[in-house]
Amino acid sequence: MITANSYSLSTEADATLARLQTRSLVVGIVGLVACAAGLVLSPDHFFRGWLVGFVFWFCMTLGSTALLMVQYLTGGAWGMVIRRPLEASSRTMLLMAVLFIPILFALPTLFEWARPEAAYDAVIQAKTLYLNKTFFTIRQFVYFGIWLVMVYLLNKWSLREDADRNIYYAKWLQRISGPGLVLYALTLTLCTTDWVMSLDAHWFSTVFAFMMLSGQGLSTLSLMTAMVILLAHTEPMRSVLTKRHTHDLGKLMLTFVMLWAYLNFSQLVIIWAGNLPEEITWYTRRMNNGWQWVGLALLMFHFVVPFLLLLSQELKKRPKLLTFVALWIIAIRLVDVFWLIEPNFDQDQLRMHWMDLAAPIGIGGVWMALFLWNLRRHPLMPVNAPDLQKALNHGRHH
């Protein structure tokens, strides 16, 4: 007989997470104090760094929400073992909404369309219907409203399922996931346009939101993989996690690595071959003045190296190595977000400000602390999920 207790965190597991949580919180607070200093000393760089940090960690939050819905629709054992970590991560949405507020106060600092000189720019004038401060602000409330409702329902029904064994919750979760993913795709497209693409108000690319989507999937899967492997040393994960689970997670990471490369390559080829002035500037900026080294590093370390490593079946079954690759990918994701955002400001030369590190660390520390706190509050497995036993037996021989 399986009770909720058999999947509750053991004392050791809880201690591991609690230790990590305290450390994250300390790092986060130090980072945020540095951010406060940055805000006073160099507000421009503070907001740029803040945007980088925000977008990077937001990928985890929204990516978790999306992956939760994907796993309800497709099923699969991989989804079951990371469902609770995904839920914990999705519950950082409210924090992200709060952390977004500073950006609303800095629109002219960050976005060229919000500056007074935009009035003399014919191209920007042609899109003021969309790119104006009021509508921008309204949109942010709508996005976060939609996401918060999604996160609320996904968590509420899944946790209710633990308490009373009503099979209808599983059905409801599946039922909202389809339309939820449609809403996810639409809001993701618009928010990516708002936060990243419109930094260069002249540039546009229809595949850009897909690139962000692949990045979100990759960030989230890597963090979740690292998390479950960390927990695999202790109960209850020790008796749950099999090599087949980590193998599957590794395969998914490989898929997203390839998807990311495929989308980036497609965009590059199409824009490079078209060579139109309104599009190619995005790349000329990123292919000169030192930025090209960041681009090459991304090609090597965001695609080639993880791709070759993850091809190996051996590696995907070895928890330590897989954790290493996962942490590697998380680190290089930050470089990718940096590369998407920063060249819009420092066009003449590659420059890094200390705020570009302080803000992601500050936001990340707080984010991790909240994530871990969320994770510790509930059993690590959805105890009454209909397919739980099937998922746990994945890769075990009877």
Partner: protein, 373 residues
């Protein structure tokens, strides 16, 4: 484009679902792979016909010649030659390798001498030993691993044919993923459109179950939504680009002389598949058949809209004009449909359309408690 897109579902069903350990593919993969081959054969006709001088088709292939003439390697049209021919080769090999155990069964059951000779030669001496099976499994996995990137690359290159130019309506970065999704979408629609009648007439309801149909309909819905996303983002970004030519193109597409085609396309490809959200529709063969036909029409319209509306009015108003297909355009198109149907029916007559050996493994596990006689 329409044909090659249809071809993709076959490979997707066989290769990707094999990699994903999805057991439900077994009943349908043989049929879908055959469909792939025939669709690719149909698609292959067009580039040669389009050159205007079909007898010089071999000029597309880079070969050392006395005049030191080479094809233009920077043109995606030439990438097409490589992508499609590689894809066709791997598809043939994949399909054939999958057929070998069944060909051996046919050989063993054959009564006439000529059947024994033909099936015997084709089954390459298959005896069904454990070693044979092991190599068979390995070969299938490798071929599946090869086919999957090929499916994506073929349609990506097809999308590059358009996107690399700077024609508004063609030059947009979403084309590669959106074409791949569109290809899978139309492919699944075609599999359903062929499978539903075949299943009915040959009484295959126990082998190709409602669950198979349900799953295929779900894949169709998902890819249909990606295609819908593609259309929506084209409209939004045409406006957002603030580029006169882009905005004009979209306006012309929606309200210009070819507007009825565009709105038909929206009806066929976006509105119709929304009914697939309802489980009862997915399980109702009649309705599903009609939807899959509508989607096939819609995907044809999509290609028509992309090609024609962008070309008939370009940058210089003096070169504007109208296009209407000639007798010969229709004849070529209908001719390939005839070729496709002929090949499909030949296949259904001559070869096992459902994998025999995989069914042998699945069917006994379905009836456990049969009394032993």
């Amino acid at each position: 484009m329409w044909w090659i897109g249809i071809g993709h579902a076959g490979t997707l069903i066989s290769a990707i679902l094999l990699l994903l350990n999805q057991g439900w593919r077994n009943a349908i993969n043989r049929f879908a792979e055959a469909m792939t081959l025939f669709a690719v054969a149909c698609a292959g006709q067009f580039p040669i016909l389009h050159m205007g001088r079909p007898w010089l088709g071999y000029w597309l292939i880079p070969y050392p010649n006395t005049m030191a003439l080479w094809p233009q390697f920077r043109s995606p049209l030439d990438w097409d030659v490589f992508a499609v021919s590689t894809y066709a080769t791997i598809s043939v090999v994949f399909w054939y390798v999958g057929l070998i155990p069944d060909l051996a069964s046919l050989r063993d059951k054959a009564h006439k001498r000529y059947q024994q000779v033909i099936f015997g030669a084709l089954s390459l001496g298959w005896r069904g030993s454990a070693m044979h099976w092991m190599r068979y499994e390995k070969a299938s996995l490798v071929l599946a691993g090869l086919s999957t990137p090929l499916v994506v690359s073929v349609h990506t290159v097809v999308s590059f044919d358009f996107a690399i130019s700077i024609i508004p309506g063609w030059h947009t970065t979403i084309f590669p993923p959106y074409f791949v999704a569109g290809a899978i979408y139309s492919g699944f629609a075609m599999v359903l459109a062929l499978m539903i009648p075949v299943r009915r007439f040959y009484g295959l309801e126990d082998l190709i179950t409602l669950q198979h149909m349900n799953n295929m309909a779900k894949v169709m819905l998902a890819t249909g939504l990606i295609v819908a996303y593609g259309y929506t983002s084209e409209v939004f970004f045409a406006w957002y680009s603030a580029n006169n030519f882009e905005r004009f193109m979209m306006h012309n597409r929606q309200f210009g002389p070819y507007a009825p085609f565009y709105w038909c396309l929206i009806f066929c490809n976006i509105i119709t598949p929304q009914f697939l959200w309802i489980a009862k529709v997915r399980m109702h063969m009649g309705i599903l058949f009609v939807i899959s036909l509508i989607v096939n029409v819609g995907m044809w319209l999509e290609r028509f809209v992309i090609v024609i509306t962008s070309l008939h009015r370009d940058f210089v108003p003096s070169s504007w004009g109208y296009y209407s297909p000639t007798r010969w355009d229709w004849a070529v198109y209908i001719g390939t449909i005839g070729l496709f149907m002929t090949l499909i029916f030949l296949f259904v007559r001559v070869l096992p359309m459902i994998t025999i050996f995989e069914m042998r493994m699945l069917v006994p596990s379905g009836r456990v408690k049969e009394p032993v006689r």
